[in-house]
Amino acid sequence: MKGMTIIVKTVSSWVKILIFLFGIYIIISGHLTPGGGFAGGIIIASSYVLLMLAFGREFVEENLSLPLASKLDCLGAFAFAMIALLGFVFGGTFFVNFLVEKYGQPLELLSAGTIPLSNIAIGVKVGASLFLVVLTLSMFRPDTSSGKKE
């Protein structure tokens, strides 16, 4: 049987969704409460890392494969750069907050212009890339096929 014991598997299968939702909450309310894209993205990545430690790498790769995580990483970086470029197109300056007066009042969930959008983009990017780091490190094995021993 791959992975750890049944106790770890049961507990992590209950806890994983709570960690994931907490990460999404930290990202979405990043402009109101402490947190933001970096912290929330890492929390989302750690829910996948917990699954990987408990169930083994193959189980996680069925849910979020390496090419898909790589695409999500690129998508987040692209979205963040696009928000910056849209500020240049509509506001005249790179990274200007061109949506700030368009919707919502301060202290509401839907407010603060481009800041929540940037938070979501950074969250997707950071979560996918940190998941990729752990995945590539768990794939890494010392090359023993060439026959040279130190």
């Binding site: 947190g35 990545a45 990483d73 963040f80 790179f94 590539t136 490190l137």
Partner: protein, 182 residues
């Protein structure tokens, strides 16, 4: 004030253990303990944003480091230290210590931010006009993603480049070798 000194003592002891132990795994865990103390310190200094990021990065970084150290089993360090290297490091530590003491004398007192001393500091503008200009209640988010978004773009680029490098270097087999075998 006292909790800072207790945390500092805890972190210094953990750092000494991390340097002195010969077991690589316990050294990695001691580094994690230092980061945990640092995040508690940020929490006491009323910076919960940094505390959250610090603790989750520490936890995940600890997992990555443990994964990396267990895979390549270089647990025990052997061999003597060279005399010349020791002399050079002692001299460098002494110079950095003197420079650090000089730098600490110019800093404001612990707990008083620098913008209360400097009248035209940029952070005063952030605090007084941040909510009106960006509409974000979390001032850290308004600084990170609006006033200083270039920094964030740079950080994202650094992360992106390092992930690309890691996935290329840590591939199971070099692509060229696979093509030669076919």
């Amino acid at each position: 004030m006292a909790e800072f000194y207790i945390l500092l003592l805890f972190m210094i002891i953990a750092a000494i253990i991390a340097v002195e132990t010969t077991n690589l795994l316990s050294a990695v865990i001691c580094v994690g303990a230092i980061g945990f103390g640092g995040s508690l310190m940020f929490l006491f200094l009323r910076a919960p944003d940094i505390a959250i990021t610090q603790i989750v990065v520490e936890v995940l970084g600890l997992i990555i480091l443990i994964r990396a150290t267990i895979a390549r089993d270089l647990t025990f360090i052997s061999g003597d230290r060279e005399f010349f290297a020791v002399v050079v490091s002692v001299v460098i530590i002494f110079v950095v210590l003197l420079a650090g003491i000089r730098a600490f004398e110019t800093l404001p007192d612990f707990g008083t931010p620098i913008f209360t001393k400097v009248p035209g500091a940029a952070s005063q503008t952030y605090i007084s006009e941040g909510l009106a200009k960006t509409g974000a209640a979390n001032l850290v988010a308004s600084v990170v993603l609006d006033f200083r978004a270039y920094d964030t773009l740079g950080e994202a680029t650094v992360l992106f480049t390092s992930i690309i490098g890691a996935t290329v270097i840590l591939r199971r087999k070099p692509k060229k070798l696979l093509e030669d075998l076919d």
